[in-house]
């Protein structure tokens, strides 16, 4: 049955309203402050470490993202931890909040489809994440320029920009997951707890559990390499693993592969030589596609559930 009009009618209005709500909400301000303070602390620590140790590095600027100095982890590690938290904070009450405020049926009785409401909320969440991450990225670049005194090269900037896009996609996965649970569970607290639980499981427990699971499912006569490959495949079910591997390939130009290295891959290779950006992109491409596909799958899942849900409070 074909419906009249565009499914996206009202999308811009919903997106702008939700974006405005996010940007002025106390919850978002606290999360943003947390992200900015911790990330800047990590960057400051990285800068002092870089000054001490790696003046000759051709990718000095990229070290800002990856170098850690005890007791602080690297900027990338901070983001891997805090971006999901921020995304979950943006999405865990996106739909059930409308139910609980009893605004859903009133809003949907206006000439818009549910599609526009859901997509608008997702876009607003993603835009909020993007704004926060772009500001953070600019701060980092600025601090790097001032404190290192070395301008980044073109390829370094390209890699840093791709890193930014990958981080946004990584946030998109958790945002879509949080929104899915906000559709499934009427209680915002339940949705938040379930999403946080899944995040902890996928980010902390699953990478440790995957080798054991792989061992259990690998045939007894299989070699160790097969077991490692299966374990790696299982670990890649976690968005955190996908993000970590992508970052590794993009921010460490010497990374030639994200799996086991075979002899034929080493033929003619100059060990320690950096790959051009296009080659690094090829290495990380499956992981990047995986992150985007996971976002789309989770959003579509939420969309299907939302379309079939009763509107009444």
């Amino acid at each position: 049955m074909r419906r009249e009009g565009s499914a996206m009618q009202g999308l811009g209005v919903v997106t702008l309203k939700e974006l405005s709500d996010h940007l002025i909400s106390a919850r978002m301000r606290v999360l943003e402050l947390l992200v900015v303070v911790t990330a800047l602390a990590a960057v400051y620590a990285a800068i002092t470490q870089i000054r001490d140790t790696s003046a000759e590095d051709p990718f000095l600027f990229l070290r800002l993202f990856t170098v850690a100095r005890d007791p602080l982890p690297s900027f990338v590690s901070f983001l891997a931890f805090l971006v999901p938290l921020m995304a979950i904070g943006l999405g865990f009450d996106a739909v059930n909040g409308e139910h609980n405020r009893r605004t859903l049926s009133r809003v949907l009785s206006q000439p818009i489809y549910r599609d526009a409401l859901l997509f608008g909320k997702f876009l607003a969440g993603l835009a909020t994440l993007t704004i926060s991450l772009v500001v953070l990225w600019l701060l980092l670049v600025g601090l790097g320029l001032i404190m290192l005194g070395v301008p980044p090269g073109g390829e370094e900037m390209g890699r840093a920009l791709i890193f930014l896009l990958v981080t946004i996609a990584y946030g998109g996965v958790w945002l879509a997951l949080a929104m899915l649970f906000s559709i499934i569970f009427r209680s915002a607290a339940t949705a938040a707890l379930v999403t946080l639980g899944l995040w902890l499981f996928l980010s902390v427990i699953w990478p440790a559990l995957a080798p054991a699971v792989a061992g259990a499912f690998t045939p007894a006569d299989a070699d160790q390499a097969t077991q490692v490959i299966i374990a790696q495949m299982l670990m890649r079910l976690s968005p955190s693993t996908l993000f970590g591997e992508t970052v590794l390939a993009i921010l460490h130009p010497t990374t030639r592969t994200l799996g086991p290295v075979y002899i034929d891959q080493l033929q003619g290779a100059v060990m320690g030589a950096p790959l051009p950006l296009s080659e690094s992109l090829l290495v990380a491409w499956p992981q990047m596609v995986g992150l985007i596909a996971a976002t789309i799958l989770l959003f579509v899942g939420g969309y299907v559930v939302f379309q079939r849900q009763e509107v009444r409070a």
């Binding site: 009249e4 209005v13 919903v14 009785s109 206006q110 000439p111 818009i112 409070a313």
Partner: protein, 316 residues
């Protein structure tokens, strides 16, 4: 083309294990207030959501201003304003900002938004609190803000789901006055409620729902005639007069006469027959002491209907 703004034909909603609405057929005529009445869980809200295209229709059909709510929900929602049961607004926004958001969703041109919002808030008596956050509003004020949204929308029909639910008597009366004003401005209204006595005064016609089915439909007087045997009850108190009970009974339109106490009669009539009853008292040489008219209450009709239905079921 018919004068009906809403037409439901055999409307049904079935879930896996239950039927929420079963074969409901009714019309809402232009300019009338039609009440969908019945207890909680009777299927009123589900019927409303189907009419708005917010819930799928399992069987039957519906037309709202000639549009199919399933195929043309946007056209329906452009013409109809909806006030849900316990309407919710964004608490962190002001009343005006909430309406501003709706105005943008509706697609009201930017230049018209402010004056239309101001006028709508004035009509419902919320102009003074337009810039206050909705979090500070009472339930009655929220309901009125919901009506302001319908006014701002210039809706040709309004669907009000349990509008007086949870309101104190004074707030209920004020809201019912606003609903009458809405009707006076040419808006057709479909109203649902389980508070039969509160909405009886505003409804032109009603349909009484029970367990998903429409049990009774018509004007209150018609329902009274159908269920109680008469739509109007005229109370007469008189002194003297000869054979008044027989005289009242002989009047055309009187269905039953009962002497409630000495010198007091209750006439069950098809129409308002106070004038005829008074004339009979005078003609019989009596002195009229009191004359009053009672419309049957929906509560009474509803209760009696289910008693009768139960008796029939028990007898079978």
């Amino acid at each position: 083309m018919s004068d009906n703004v809403i037409e439901a034909r055999g409307l049904s909603k079935r879930y896996a294990t239950a039927t929420a609405v079963d074969n409901a057929t009714f019309d809402v005529a232009a300019g009338e207030i039609f009440g969908l009445l019945g207890p909680n869980g009777a299927g009123k809200t589900t019927t409303i959501l189907m009419l708005l295209g917010l819930s799928e229709i399992s069987a039957g059909s519906a037309r709202v201003f000639g549009h199919d709510p399933m195929r043309e929900p946007l056209a329906v929602k452009r013409l109809v304003g909806y006030l849900p049961d316990s309407v919710g607004f964004y608490d962190h926004l002001t009343a005006a900002d909430n309406l501003f958001y709706t105005a943008r969703l509706i697609g009201i041109p930017p230049g018209e938004r402010k004056p239309r919002i101001a006028e709508a808030l004035s009509r419902v008596g919320l102009r003074e609190v337009a810039e206050k956050r909705v979090a500070t509003f009472s339930r009655g004020m929220r309901q009125r803000l919901g009506l302001a949204e319908i006014v701002m929308k210039n809706a040709r029909a309004a669907i009000l789901d349990e509008p007086t639910n949870g309101l104190d008597p004074q707030a209920s009366l004020e809201l019912l006055d606003l609903i009458r004003a809405l009707k006076a401005s040419g808006v057709s209204i479909l109203l649902s409620s389980h508070l039969l006595d509160r909405v009886q005064s505003v409804c032109d016609r009603v349909a009484l729902f029970n367990q998903g089915k429409i049990a009774l439909m018509g004007t209150v007087a018609e329902l009274g005639r159908q269920v109680l045997g008469g739509g109007y009850a005229v109370e007469v108190e008189a002194e003297g007069g000869h054979d008044l009970a027989r005289r009242f009974g002989a009047l055309e339109g009187v269905r039953r006469v009962s002497e409630t106490e000495l010198g007091r009669w209750r006439l069950t009539c098809e129409r308002d027959m106070r004038a005829e009853a008074a004339a009979e008292v005078v003609a019989a040489g009596g002195r009229l002491k009191q004359l009053s008219l009672d419309q049957p209450s929906l509560e009474t009709i509803y209760t009696r209907y289910f008693q009768n239905t139960q008796e029939v079921a028990d007898a079978a």
